[in-house]
Amino acid sequence: MHEHVLQEPLASPTVAEIFIGFLTLGLTAFGGALPLARRELVERRKWLSPDEFTDLLGLCQFLPGGNVINLSVAVGVKFRGVAGALAGLLGLIGGPSLIVIGLGVLYQRTHQDPHIRHLFAGLAAAAAGLLVSMAIKVAWPLRRKLWMALIAALAFVAIALLRLPLLPVMLVLTPVSIFIASKANREAQR
């Protein structure tokens, strides 16, 4: 980590500060928490240097689970061990959980009303649109990589059309996909 030697020491938050930090992040992040997470952790609170943030995010994207959720655990454990991890996670999901339950109750009580039903139909259609756009963004880099595109297409067919369970699909396709990635890489290096 030679690049950090010349930087001033970064702040080392307490368990309470970790909780408050991620509570704020959870309550203010609309439509994906990742851009805001960088601003909060690196620029505003200065808990992480830009390099440390990129490094931790790389780990969190690699592991199963939501990226920002993993980030809250990773940042917590980095500074305050398991107590810090719990503080980060509970801070991040605590506020949004209560809000979303409130919205759920509101929906349950009002969804018989035709205006509310129409509004929700529009909201759900828009949310589906955001998901379609995300799917295009994730798939876009694969458009000229035949084998990777084929694996993606197989996963789509198995899950969306054949409605197969996720576990066996992943157990079959993931090793094949990793094997192709490693083979393509060796050929590129030759």
């Binding site: 994730v138 798939a139 993606a152």
Partner: protein, 179 residues
């Protein structure tokens, strides 16, 4: 009471498995969540599932808040607590464990192959999520049009998602094209 306990055990089993399979973020496991919640356990219709997904998108926080809503819908507060622990616990334990090993394995060539290999899986699974959620949400032509326009705007512009959700809701509220 035993039916409720049975539901809680099922929720715990489903979401702890999803927790460990969610490579590439939360949206990759939506199809399996829908399959379990709608088809296998029949806790709700697929239209209800899409409505919960939309609610969770409109709320602040990480994009997996539909998990909390499913728990609430199935079993109230105990359901919320069980699904939250099951969904966020196992992946968090993996994260804590991996923090200790990360310095060693991040430079390993296999890490990059695994990451590259997971990329097409993520692409296929997010596309499956989009197809299934859109299929359940777009029951009228006007709703299909909203999905298409919002998808295009979100792909082409930097408009904040919240504005796009608000725009879709307002068009929906007019009732135009909905019968």
């Amino acid at each position: 009471m035993s039916a409720m306990n049975h539901d809680l055990v099922s929720l715990a089993a489903i979401f702890s498995q999803l927790s460990l399979l969610a490579f590439g973020g939360g949206n990759t496991i939506l199809p399996e969540m829908q399959r379990q919640v709608v088809e296998v356990h029949q806790w709700m219709s697929k239209a209800d599932f899409s409505a919960l997904f939309a609610l969770a998108q409109a709320a602040p926080g990480p994009n997996m808040m539909i998990v909390t809503l499913v728990g609430w819908h199935v079993a109230g507060w105990p359901g919320v607590i069980v699904t939250s622990i099951a969904k966020f616990g196992p992946s968090s334990v993996v994260t804590v464990a991996a923090m200790h090993a990360w310095e060693r394995f991040k430079a390993h060539p296999w890490r990059r192959f695994v990451q590259l290999g997971l990329l097409p899986m993520t692409a296929g699974l997010v596309a499956a999520s989009a197809a299934l959620i859109a299929e359940a949400s777009d029951t009228q032509w006007v709703l299909t049009a909203i999905t298409a326009v919002i998808a295009w705007l979100s792909f082409k512009t930097k408009l904040h998602p919240l504005w796009l959700l608000a725009a879709g809701s307002l068009i929906g509220l007019t009732g135009f094209g909905q019968f």
